[in-house]
Amino acid sequence: MQSSFLLFVIFTLMILGYLAGRRRSLAVARMSRGPDRLHSLPAYYGFYAALWAGIPALFLLATGVFFQDWIITKLVVADLPETLRTLPPEQLGLVMNDIRNMATGNIVSTEITPAIQLAADHYVRLRDLYSTATWILVTCISVLGIIMVRARISPTLRARNRVERIVIVIMMVFSSIAILTTLGVIFSVLYESLQFFRKVPVTEFIFGTEWSPQIALRADQVGASGSFGSIPLFAGTLLISVIAMLVAVPIGLMSAIYLSDYASARFRALTKPLLEILAGIPTVVYGFFAALTMAPFIRNLGERLGMEVASESALAAGLVMGVMIIPFVSSLSDDVINAVPQSLRDGSNALGATRSETIKKVVFPAALPGIVGGVLLAMSRAIGETMIVVMAAGLSANLTANPLESVTTVTVQIVTLLTGDQEFDSPKTLAAFALGMALFAVTLVMNVIALRTVRKYREQYD
């Protein structure tokens, strides 16, 4: 909470800086006969001072907060008695945890030895010292910035140009966050995956057909060596996604065709938003529906027909996921169908084709690349969809093509492996990151191909 208060202080100083800069510039202008002698409007001198009051201070604060724990830990460790300091790193980490817990007033796991008590006191002292130092430094830097700008204000200072350059640089930094996000995803997932592959061979992960990530806690435990073959997961994902696409593509495509080529404007204006409601419903709601309504329904239906249906069948999850994707397919195909030039339709109609013939023989082939792109995008969304399958699909990895059986998916496994207690060196946790990497790679390739196809297709008729 302290650093958030410091943020507030910096913000106040920025406002003060603005006022000071503005006043100073007006005073300078008065000395040199009138504000028209200033290079920029007075407000820009104010902004300039405010930026100098804010940016370096914020930067310093961020660095300070980031390194706080590291620095204090180093200092405390350096002051620990010899017996504790020379412990192996893992045990030292535990000791440090105890010290930290004591310092923050949490429950400590072990008994308190005087040495640890001493270290905890030391920790608290250092932390207070550190935060006071941060406070003073940040405030000083901020005030110094204001003073410096104020001293340099003169009619010839090109305040507007400087402020604008800073603002543009800030916007540039903002826009590179998108790149940073992608890099962050790639590196974080890759790093943990590499650690995983150090423990489990890549070939087993890619070609293995058995998935049971339970690791033996004791050496003599039976049958829990842990096997990490991802094929059943991808097969399950594929099965559910294909069921979803079998629902979504015909319904989505046909409704897009009907809405764009048959429906009256009024019908379209009424129906389209109603269908798009499906896109706005959170996935957790679909999951609830799939688990509590669809799955029992299918199970009862199957029992009446004399078939054996698992209570977490792939069919239930797939059907509901298909419903979720309908508006996605329909709005993407609506776009591409509308992009087909009217002249093509007119030409076909003039030759005496019926409307459905025009659509099937002219519009559809012309729009095909776009539609394929849209279906690919929808497929990648189905593969990455999480909540529906977490709630309605099973946990056990079956390698089967029977939609009435229970299968599990990549996303389900990521969620189950990463919720609950985790240690970051067990292959179980790391496996989730390897799965995440595979998922990211597959969807990325599909998205790139799909987006490129759609874009090329659009250019063709533009």
Partner: protein, 429 residues
């Protein structure tokens, strides 16, 4: 006139009925597709509504309570701490025994106490703390009934089932019927649902904690993502040189918009929590993840809003001597703002309904307290729905549905606002 010239027409004519039939079939298929889509919407809403509307009412039991001083405050100190930690459940148990004096053996007594919620003593405690004078007096209090009783009242427990398949045995049903005869059972508006946090007891569980968590998370997400998105949209659309680098950024943003949301959860776990040490389960880390997730949506919308502002506006501003940045901030941005806000609202609606990435960063924890700030452990509404959907108690089904109704109400309001905003301020140049 049976010249061969007619033969083409004849062939065409002969084929016409078939072709028209095919046309009709095709058209019918289109209508069927739309019909199916609409039916799905209707089923979904009806299903949720029919499951959830009962949760807005809750069963209460009227009990005559004697605020026994020897139980609440044996020493007679009137010390608030003593009053706060007294065993109020004992008072309720005492009253229940008085209503059913024939119940004597231990197991029967335990079943008897199950008529009221285990947290029902809370009401008595609040009343005593608010007014310590009432110790020693007797009054009638309405307390929360247990979830099984609640389900029975709402008709979710079938009395005709054999006793062993029922949540309530015959004896409990008899007690319940006697309470009904005494007019001691009543359904009231369920305030608990809106005022309390999560609980293991369905009758005590509420969405207040999740709502506050969602509020804090969404507020931070908005604060982070709006300036970031607008800044990058302006830079990319108006200032960036068209080169390989900006092409890359563009492709990248489009791709990020299609990356599965769970991947952002992995990123949050690995980067924000493990590397930067942001506290787990807090609105802060949730907002960081959701910001990265919604950023592409808002950037794409903002860029198209900027694109729709005609160049003449920019040229006019430049013509009278505005600098490029002044042109943007004084003239282009105000005109593009409605479009940007629409995109932002849609992005926020997405963030409000998102669940999967938040599971990765620990917002799935069981948290009873209503969060008070950005760094308190919290959960959000969709995650609460997920947690309740997993609970085995029948009473949680209606609560889950009710929470979904609340969530959908928020989402529909947000989307409607976006649509109205677009309608109201949309400009054709």
């Amino acid at each position: 006139m049976t010249s061969p010239a007619n033969s083409t027409v004849d062939i065409v004519r002969a084929g016409l009925p078939k072709r028209y039939a095919r046309e009709r079939r095709f058209r019918l298929m289109g209508m069927l597709a739309i019909g199916l889509g609409l039916v799905f919407v209707a089923i979904l809403f009806l299903d949720i509504f029919s499951k959830g509307y009962t949760a807005f009412q809750q069963t209460y039991v009227r009990i005559q309570v004697h605020y026994d001083g020897s139980v609440i405050d044996p020493a007679g100190t009137e010390n608030p701490d003593t009053l706060a930690f007294a065993d109020y459940m004992a008072l309720l148990k005492q009253s229940l025994r008085e209503v059913f004096p024939e119940v004597t053996d231990r197991r029967a007594k335990r079943d008897l106490y199950q008529l009221v919620s285990p947290g029902a003593g809370q009401v008595l405690r609040d009343r005593v703390l608010a007014n310590p004078e009432i110790v020693g007096t007797t009054e009638e209090v309405w307390v929360l009934a247990n979830d099984d009783i609640d389900m029975l009242v709402k008709g979710h427990i079938d009395r005709d089932l054999p006793e062993s398949n029922r949540r309530l045995d015959d004896r409990s049903l008899a007690w319940f019927d006697r309470l009904v005869d005494q007019d001691a059972i009543e359904k009231r508006f369920n305030i608990t649902f809106f005022s309390s946090g999560d609980s293991r007891q369905p009758e005590q569980a509420g969405i207040a904690g999740a709502l506050m968590g969602s509020f804090y998370t969404l507020l931070l997400t908005l604060l982070f993502s709006f300036p970031l998105a607008v800044g990058s949209a302006i830079f990319l659309e108006e200032f960036a040189p068209k080169n390989k680098w900006t092409d890359l950024i563009e492709i990248n943003i489009n791709n990020l918009a299609a990356v599965p949301s769970i991947i952002f959860g992995l990123l949050g776990l690995a980067v924000f929590i493990n590397f930067f040490g942001v506290p787990r389960s807090t609105p802060l880390v949730g907002a960081l993840v959701l910001t990265l997730m919604t950023l592409p949506t808002i950037i794409i919308a903002s860029r198209s809003a900027l694109k729709s502002v005609p160049p003449s506006i920019r040229e006019a501003a430049m013509g009278i001597g505005a600098s490029p940045l002044q042109t943007q901030f004084h003239h282009v941005l105000p005109l593009a703002m409605p479009g940007m806000l629409t995109g932002t609202i849609i992005g926020m609606a997405q963030a409000l309904g998102e669940t999967a990435p938040l599971l990765m960063i620990g917002m799935i924890a069981f948290i009873v307290d209503v969060p008070q700030g950005f760094t308190d452990p919290a959960t959000v509404l969709p995650v609460q729905i997920f947690l309740w959907a997993d609970s085995p108690e029948r009473a949680f089904v209606e609560r889950t549905s009710a929470a979904i109704m609340v969530l959908l109400a928020f989402l529909i309001t947000m989307n409607l606002t976006a649509v109205l905003l677009r309608k109201r301020f949309e400009r054709r140049w």
